[in-house]
């Protein structure tokens, strides 16, 4: 039954997931083209110096890419449920409502994570083309908090969309937004090497928290 719910979420979201995927691929194609251009007009040793000593992040414009992806997928998944109270359709399925909600959220997380992993692969491959492997590994470590922020952005969107009351929506947005920003504290490479695991672990609390707005939806008095 839960696999059926995954099937439903996929059908609902696949177009937007595809759009997000194309967007992500597009950004990395641009990264490749941009780097190639840079290495054509500049001396490679200067670019390496900027990257390794100065700390220039040549891939910095992918910083918010997965956040955008998370929001797209979250909105595509949950906005249709909220329009016309279509969420009731899902709530009437012969599945425990909490399991149903968690299953939906896991489906979305998976969608974001797949794109995130693809981003990581593309990032590594492209950077390794122009820089030694240390540069590519560093890029991955640097991008890791941004990839996590994408998951948080998705969960924050789900949380906010499902909440029936407007004032609470703002509260959840503030919490998710504030948490998201915790992954963007540094401007140099690899700043999160030692600290990432803590906010990343705590952010997993967003997963069980989605049960609350779904519960509040069922317990509305109007």
């Amino acid at each position: 039954m839960l696999s059926s719910i995954l099937y439903k979420e996929w059908l609902k979201v696949r177009l937007f997931w595809g759009v997000a995927l194309v967007l992500n691929i597009g950004v990395f194609v641009y990264l490749f083209v941009d780097l190639r251009h840079l290495f054509t007009i500049e001396h490679a040793e200067m670019i390496w110096y900027q990257a390794f000593k100065i700390g220039t992040l040549h891939y910095a414009y992918m910083k918010y890419l997965l956040v955008i992806t998370g929001v797209i997928i979250g909105a595509a998944q949950f906005t249709p449920e909220m329009i016309g109270h279509r969420f009731r359709l899902s709530l009437h399925l012969p599945v425990r409502p909490n399991s149903m909600v968690l299953c939906c959220v896991l489906a979305g997380l998976l969608g974001v994570a797949v794109i995130g992993m693809l981003d990581a692969f593309m990032l590594y491959t492209i950077i390794a083309r122009f820089f030694p492997r240390e540069g590519a590994e560093s890029a991955l470590l640097t991008a890791l908090p941004w990839l996590f922020s994408g998951l948080v952005a998705y969960l924050g969107t789900a949380l906010t969309a499902m909440e029936p009351r407007l004032s609470r929506k703002f509260v959840y947005l503030a919490i998710a937004g504030g948490f998201l920003w915790l992954f963007y504290q540094g401007n140099d490479y690899e700043t999160y090497n030692w600290a990432l695991w803590k906010p990343a672990l705590i952010s997993m609390l967003f997963i069980p928290s989605v049960i609350l707005p779904a519960y509040r939806y069922r317990n509305r008095s109007s």
């Binding site: 279509r86 008095s221 109007s222």
Partner: protein, 295 residues
């Protein structure tokens, strides 16, 4: 006889507006229960409460023996629910939505679904969002029949359906309730359809007023009387004998649960001439309008 739905002292308000007040009723197994009332009296609200999508201010509701606010997956699998507006997953196609729902219900009858849906003569990959209102309704009703639920709750099933399909649907429904173990709880704007279908009715009125009775008793008990007024009947008003009245030119119709003699005497007492007082036979729709009034 076991009750499939039990409602006890249900009260619900939207802000200061009272929708239901100490509403109590039961729906026995095997009955076909019609819930009638004008727009806005709380029919859909009641269904939302019964299905656990809304928490009432006070009162108790039980469906299939379980607290309506905490229906188990097992109970939900026995309830076929048609939402007002014929809500459906519009991003799915005819085939996809069947595939999705069939996985959730063990006694899924695929033939029933396609039996109804094939009549649309649409390809199976046709998306529901690209269908007309009526076409969507057919798909949704097909899904409910295929589920073969013990309890069917249909909130305004007739929306968007053409006359032909409505007839077909009623045939399916009659077939469905034939064995006496299935229960139907239905609302409809087209009151006439229900006349040949339901055996219990409940009328909801604004402010929480309720009348529950068997259809037969209602049709026998509730009468329309007509007479011509000769300038009088200006003082005519509703009371405990005259349930409702309708004055159109010189023609006056009064509605009452009392016999004609009692009504005639009551009118005479009020000083109203009732020349040619006669009982007028009513259909269910006439009786419904007579009870609740025209707008």
């Amino acid at each position: 006889m076991e009750n499939v739905i039990e409602v006890e002292n249900l009260t619900h308000c939207y802000g200061k507006r009272v929708i239901h007040e100490n509403l109590s009723f039961t729906v026995p197994r095997g009955s076909i229960f019609g819930l009638l009332g004008k727009n806005g009296v709380g029919k859909t609200t009641l269904i939302k409460i019964l299905m656990g999508f809304l928490r009432p201010v006070s009162g108790r509701c039980r469906v299939l023996g379980e607290d309506s606010h905490n229906l188990s997956p097992a109970a939900r699998s026995k309830i076929g629910l048609l939402f007002e507006g014929h809500l459906a997953y519009e991003f799915m196609s005819i085939a996809q939505i069947e595939k999705f729902y069939s996985a959730h219900y063990p006694s899924w009858n695929r033939d029933l679904y396609y039996g109804l849906v094939d009549r649309l003569d649409l390809p199976y990959d046709h998306k529901i969002k690209n269908m007309s209102c009526g076409q969507r309704s057919q798909v949704v009703l097909g899904l409910i029949f295929a589920q073969e639920p013990e309890l069917m709750i249909l909130d305004d099933y007739s929306m968007g359906l053409d006359a032909g399909y409505r007839r077909l649907f009623l045939e399916y429904l009659s077939e469905y309730v034939n064995d006496g173990t299935k229960t139907v709880f239905v609302t409809s704007h087209i009151v006439q359809d229900l006349e040949n279908l339901v055996n219990e009715v409940m009328f909801l009125d604004r402010g929480g007023e309720v009348l529950q009775t068997s259809l037969d008793e209602f049709m026998i008990g509730f009468k329309q009387f007509r007479f011509k007024r000769n300038g009088s009947a200006n003082t005519l008003h509703r009371d405990d004998v005259i349930r409702n009245l309708d004055i159109s030119g010189d023609n006056v119709s009064v509605y009452s649960f009392r016999p004609m003699t009692e009504v005639g005497a009551h009118l005479a007492e009020m000083g109203i001439e009732t020349a040619g007082l006669e009982q007028v036979p009513m259909t269910l729709e006439d009786a419904f309008i007579g009870l609740t009034g025209k707008y």
